[in-house]
Subunit: 589 residues, 2 copies
């Protein structure tokens, strides 16, 4: 299993280290032979291992227990989460991106993709074959869903347990480097989704080494990560150095930090702030532009405020309020968190303000939620109508294009690309892909597998679904049916949507008005009864008819029609005449 | 039991309200007769009760349960925590402080007192009799340890359960108003210690009415208060309106908020910030200067930073680092949290910086602790060598004067009053009171009482104490022996210390240099080996000899000796000649 490329002549001695503050004895098992480690400074144990090369297999035995455990910082788990670790020599890869610089986030178009379903092969190398499509589309930043090693061959990746190891079913460490290198060769920056709020339920051996977890705080996935208790310094270091590894050794251009609201840390310096500071320092060291993007359910502007103003200094955060308000208006859905949305005025508020819930009461949460983001730039928010969660957390994994007609999908896309936010799309969205994106797992542990299947089923049954309408996460077909079908892309309905996305992206790229993120950059008018909304961004006017009837809409100033979702659309006597469920973009002289 | 003063002729109808979102039925029991309440807006239930006057007894029956429960916002519990509530008419008291304004905290001298042990009677009225002593001493602000109704007649008050009711063993609501009114009449501001991080273990019926608690976070006292979960809006309102009640209806001048670090709140607006904002609004409404002081274990400058800079905007916080560094140098103690202290250089750092732990590693906490308070004014910190916790949380409740000789006590007091912080002393400190301040309780529930006694004993035995050296909290003598002995105040040793405190306070009051809180206001030099420290504050020089030997100390510039703890102290050939364990204050021309 050794990668021949890396079986170098260097059979010198390497120092292997592991942090294990509570261990009494610690041994390393290197391909069967064992050696003790010595406790050193700050409870780091170490041992010099001769002939340790890229691919050498090893593991640790803690306190005499015979089970060989993977290295907490294993860089490679060729045999999965329960197997031996394999050593990774990061010095050997032949990078060709020496002069690479990512473009600023402020002019980015982000494309979220899941390695296992993006390409037919479902691997890092498989993804490379599809990159030219993204370039042609106008994407600037690829965002990979988590790639850290998790239990089973397939899954979304949020159950990672070997956080330093690329998921072996996607390819080896070099394959991931090839993917990033090939992105950079095409002018695409690459952002990695990292999960620091919990570890997966299978293969997490961290607690054998140190207090990575605490029972003082609960998360939806059990005990929280120990960010502020005794020995939290080593725990924080573990996650921060993980972030830095991806940026330094794999040349990622930034991080998307999963569920920051579940990083419970009440110390004087929140982990998210310390992480951001560490990335900033690495940026100086590497001379590369690096970004940190938060997923957050807090509606707390502190995350993206500069540190000089008491913020955490992150670059941007996902805006679920924009998504939810747009989704609820388009679909009419009101279940779950959509109960808090549905008014066109809320969508208008999101466009003007960033948050809808900026301190106002939320029925769904049964408390007031958020605070005013006044003073923040629009580019502090990512705007989207689809992402892995908003699709995949539905019982059947429907995309927006499965829920509403093409007219409404085009409205959604238009608002995403004309809003003052950074636009993000989810793989296949650009051609209204027919494949669903479902929740799939491949847990090997029978008990866990059954619990996941049953948990999913009972959750949705409690929301009123029929059991047979809830795909089983453990069924291989649930995974396979989530793969993109690239052969459909030239079918008229799909190619028409793809063309719409290309035009929107091109229009945005060329328009200083649309690229401007200054808030409130959007002058928004709407009529709840008549069901229309207009958005003015400098010389660009967007006119939206959500209604199921045609109507004339006052755009403010009239101008040249740049894009229209419906060919019957027209400008007549001071109004834009809009067929039902249509959208137009005008330029005012 | 009705207070005759208040049996007014007004026997009109009053609307009684209570927040009970999860209740199905709710009845009020008014002196035996029952009426149903109607659910209204925001889950507030109400009923109009005729003939409801000051002192009328009542309680609630939730969901048909026969147990009559006290009002969560009961203003008076004449029969203790399990008894009926009594209605309080706040409009009747004859205040005489119409023109009262508190002096700013920046020139304050704070005196912490415990109503039950401050005066022989141990009541609000008993405390009034001793106020002139405080005025004569130079105190400007009295800080009352918590007065909310708790289980038993005596206790520290941190086990309060009826947070709107003055503890009935201290007197009725009017008695507390008399105390505040009499303070104001003497020019004394009054700060109240409020406990919002937990409720006491006996008599807490809040969960019968609403989700005041959450199991998502743990505190040292069990489940945390629900500040950020579903229905937390009503919970936050409960605590904030409690704070406002004390300030508005009892004329308190500020609050000391207990253990802010245990107010676990991960929402976008931390409860401590919302509380402070609400107090600021009341300050505008009342036209009175109101302050909010935090007790915090976080070393987080965010608490006292202005809200414009992302802070919570609180006025000041207790500085345990100053206390611990001074205490450890004076006593040589290194157990518990004193393990992190002991170097004179740490005391110097506290004087220069506010925090010793400003992001550096703490052995006791086994993690790095705090962050830099750079830019904060010294008046953002309260400085003290004694408070109820630092005395009472010792096994035997020893004051500093029980632990070290008078020379060292005078050093401590001198540094408290010459530091750039707001000085605070604990009742009796000013005369080195002989009485200890012990941990005492009077729980009626036998099981709880036994648990408290046993918990205390086993805690200290685990630290190496002998069982007979740990007073039993439930033993009445533990309480009675904690009362101040006012008759000892004229004994020479005590009157000498009292005079020292008076002089220090007078000196501080008259010195612009000492009143200046600008940081770093203190130029501090020290010699760890020679065991001395000098502190320069403008034209004032403080010279401290911690050593058990006499020595000459270079003060920087020489000057006139204003105060000396030892009459043998002298200025000779460029040095201040210091007897062992002595302190001098000099003025440089």
């Amino acid at each position: 299993m050794l990668d021949i490329q890396h079986t170098s002549a260097d059979v010198g001695t390497r120092t292997i280290e592991v942090w294990a503050p509570d261990a009494t004895t610690l041994e390393i098992d290197v391909q069967g032979s064992r050696m003790p480690l010595q406790r050193g400074h700050d409870d780091w144990w170490s041992v010099d291992v001769p002939g340790f090369i890229h691919g050498s297999r090893y593991g640790f035995l803690v306190d005499g227990c015979e089970r060989v455990l993977p290295d907490p910082r294993s860089g490679w788990q060729p045999d999965g989460v329960h197997g031996y670790s394999a050593f990774v020599d990061h010095s050997a890869f032949a990078w060709t991106d020496q002069h690479w610089q990512a473009r600023p986030l402020s002019s980015a178009v982000i494309y979220e993709l899941h390695v296992g379903t993006f390409s037919p092969r479902g691997t890092f190398d498989g993804a490379i074959e599809r990159l030219d499509h993204l370039v042609h589309l106008g994407v600037t930043h690829v965002e990979l869903m988590p790639v850290a090693q998790f239990s089973g061959d397939w899954g979304w990746g949020y159950d990672g347990v070997d956080l330093y190891a690329p998921h072996s079913a996607y390819g080896d460490p070099d394959a991931l480097k090839r993917l990033v290198n090939e992105c950079h060769a095409r002018g695409l920056a690459v952002i990695l989704d990292v999960v620091y709020n919990h570890l997966g339920p299978s293969g997490n051996y961290l607690s054998n080494f140190a207090p990575y977890h605490t029972s003082r705080y609960a998360t939806p996935w059990g005990d929280a990560v120990n960010f502020d208790g005794p020995r939290s310094g080593g725990v924080r270091q573990f996650f921060i150095e993980n972030a830095l590894m991806w940026l330094r050794d794999y040349h990622f251009d930034g991080l998307r930090v999963d569920a920051v609201h579940e990083l419970v840390d009440n110390s004087a310096c929140h982990f998210a702030e310390e992480l951001t500071s560490a990335v900033r320092e690495l940026s100086v060291e590497l001379g590369r532009y690096l970004v940190v993007i938060a997923e957050s359910d807090l509606n707390d502007p502190r995350l993206v405020r500069p540190q000089e103003l008491g913020g955490y200094g992150m670059d941007a955060q996902w805006s679920d309020d924009f998504h939810h308000s747009l989704h609820a208006v388009l679909t009419g859905e009101r279940s779950g968190y959509y109960a808090d949305f549905g008014a066109i005025e809320q969508l208008a508020k999101a466009l003007r303000n960033g948050y809808v819930y900026d301190g106002v009461y939320s029925e769904y949460r049964r408390r007031s939620h958020g605070r005013s983001p006044l003073g923040l730039d629009g580019h502090r928010f990512l705007g989207y109508i689809q992402n892995h969660d908003q699709i995949g957390n539905r019982a059947a994994g429907e995309r927006i294009s499965h829920l509403v007609n093409a007219g409404r999908v085009k409205i959604a896309a238009t608002l995403v690309f004309t809003a003052p936010f950074i636009p993000m799309i989810f793989q296949g969205e650009e051609w209204a892909a027919s494949s669903h994106f479902r929740y799939f797992t491949q847990h090997e542990d029978a008990e866990l597998a059954a619990a996941v299947s049953e948990g999913r089923r009972s959750e949705f049954i409690s929301f009123g679904w029929q059991p047979h309408d809830v795909p089983d996460p453990q069924d291989p077909e649930t995974f396979h049916s989530s793969k993109l079908r690239w052969d459909e892309i030239n079918d008229p309905l799909h190619s028409d949507m793809l063309e719409w996305y290309r035009k929107l992206i091109e229009l945005r790229r060329k328009s200083a008005s649309l690229l401007n993120g200054k808030m409130p950059a959007a002058q928004v008018n709407c009529d709840e009864e008549a069901r229309w909304l207009t958005l003015r961004r400098g010389d660009i006017h967007v006119v939206v008819n959500f209604a199921e009837w045609a109507q004339g809409i006052p755009p403010g100033d009239l101008g040249e029609i740049l894009l229209a979702s419906d060919s019957r659309l027209d400008v007549q006597s001071g109004l834009v005449w809009m067929p039902k469920e249509s959208v137009a973009i005008l330029r005012v002289a």
